[in-house]
């Protein structure tokens, strides 16, 4: 069960076509869900509009639990997009994986460490960007000397630790889920006995994966807002 990645080199950059495809599929699904459910907007919400408004309020709640809405309102769009994107990405790998000629094509894009880490780095870079934008470069620099100047090295390490944990937590959870699903599928495909024996655990694990996928998308957005609040707030 060794799998190659379908890589190509273009403009000096190495692309994993599987990742690119799955990212595109994720983006298209999210876009379709969002656009279709907000086609017929009305003051009295019905059907999918209710669902979307629930997601918005949910993310709003996450932001509000970390900072006041006047500061956090600008991260609303980022939060909603992140939670939906990561949730859909996590879900994609659950029903099946597709391997063509030894190359793994269909999987969760978040089961790739590079994708998860890119999202994490993007979030952390954004926190620094907003910290500088909202507090000024001087205040931003001073924050590294708080609460005590000699802790500054730890503060620098903290930034890298935050980035690593944010990305690897997501990657690890989803990747582990897919490995176990792959193992179960392998057993199921081996013998008839194995097939019937493996149905129940597979069902259980898929259900659990859905749960994990949802939780991880929530945690990712939650931590994004925690880091954001930590960087942006003035008094801490």
């Amino acid at each position: 069960m060794h799998h190659e990645n379908p890589t190509i080199v273009w403009l000096g950059l190495t692309f994993n076509l599987s990742n690119v495809m799955m990212l595109l599929i994720t983006a298209i699904i999210v876009l379709l869900i969002a656009v279709i459910s907000t086609r017929r907007l009305s003051l009295k919400p019905t059907g999918m509009q209710n669902f979307m408004e629930w997601i918005m309020d949910f993310v709003k709640g996450i932001i509000k639990s970390n900072m006041d809405w006047g500061t956090g309102g600008r991260f609303h769009v980022l939060g909603i997009t992140l939670i939906m994107f990561i949730f859909v990405a996590n879900m994609l790998g659950i029903p099946f994986a597709i391997v063509i000629q030894g190359e793994l094509w269909w999987k969760s894009p978040t089961a790739d460490p590079l994708v998860a880490m890119t999202l994490a780095v993007m979030v952390v870079v954004l926190t620094h960007f907003y910290a500088i934008q909202m507090k000024g470069i001087k205040e931003y620099g001073k924050d590294f000397l708080r609460p005590l100047p000699f802790l500054a090295p730890l503060k620098v390490i903290e930034e890298f630790a935050n980035t690593l944990t944010l990305g690897l937590r997501l990657y690890g959870n989803i990747y582990a889920g897919e490995i176990l699903l792959g193992l179960l599928a392998g057993i199921g495909g081996a013998t008839y006995l194995g097939f019937f024996g493996v149905i129940a655990p597979t069902l259980a694990w898929q259900g659990f994966s859905i749960f994990i996928g949802a939780i991880q998308s929530f945690i990712f957005v939650m931590l994004t807002m925690v880091y954001m609040a930590h960087k942006v707030s003035r008094d801490h």
């Binding site: 692309f15 990742n19 969002a34 656009v35 509009q49 980022l78 994107f85 490995i179 392998g186």
Partner: protein
């Protein structure tokens, strides 16, 4: 590795190079997605949610206003009712007082009238009595003269006699 063959996503050997393209792909796809969603989905949805928020706020405000207004009206009505009641009471009181006064007046007038009538009656009786007495006196004088002349049989002067007799009678009247 020992268990590598079990792992679905494990790639052959180690990754030979960093998939730098994936980084850009992830970033670009995510950012484009975010921009599109903001333009086509979140923007309008946030707009409508804001609109609803404003609608609810204005409705609440309107309700509050109308409540205040109705309260004010109620207060006004209550004050008016109270005023009307006081006024009615005043009117009744006034009427009562006026009735009392009128009763007194009527009584006084009636009493005065009765007194007047009584007095005039008394006066009339007095006059009548005097008249009667005078008449009787005249009669008595004539009768006396007649009797005396008859007794004396001689005609004395009428005038002298009358004077004399009248004097006597007056005396008798005074004595009597």
């Amino acid at each position: 590795m020992f268990l590598d063959y079990l792992v679905l996503n494990a790639t052959e050997g180690e990754v030979k190079f960093l998939n730098t393209g994936d980084i850009f792909a992830t970033l670009i796809i995510f950012i484009i997605l975010m921009v599109l969603l903001k333009k086509f989905a979140w923007g309008p949805l946030m707009g409508i949610m804001k609109q609803r928020e404003e609608l609810i706020a204005s409705e609440i405000e309107a309700t509050e206003n109308s409540r205040l207004e109705s309260e004010k009206l109620l207060e006004e009505q209550r004050a008016l009712l109270k005023e009307a009641r006081t006024e009615a009471q005043a009117i009744v009181e006034n009427a009562k007082k006026q009735g009392e006064v009128q009763r007194g007046e009527i009584l006084t007038v009636a009493q005065a009238e009765a007194n007047r009538l009584k007095e005039s009656a008394v006066r009339e009786i007095e006059t009548e009595k005097d008249n009667a007495i005078a008449a009787v006196r005249g009669q008595v004088v004539s009768l006396s003269i007649l009797a005396a002349s008859k007794v004396l049989g001689k005609q004395i002067s009428e005038e002298d006699n009358r004077a004399l007799i009248e004097e006597t009678i007056a005396k008798a009247g005074d004595a009597g």
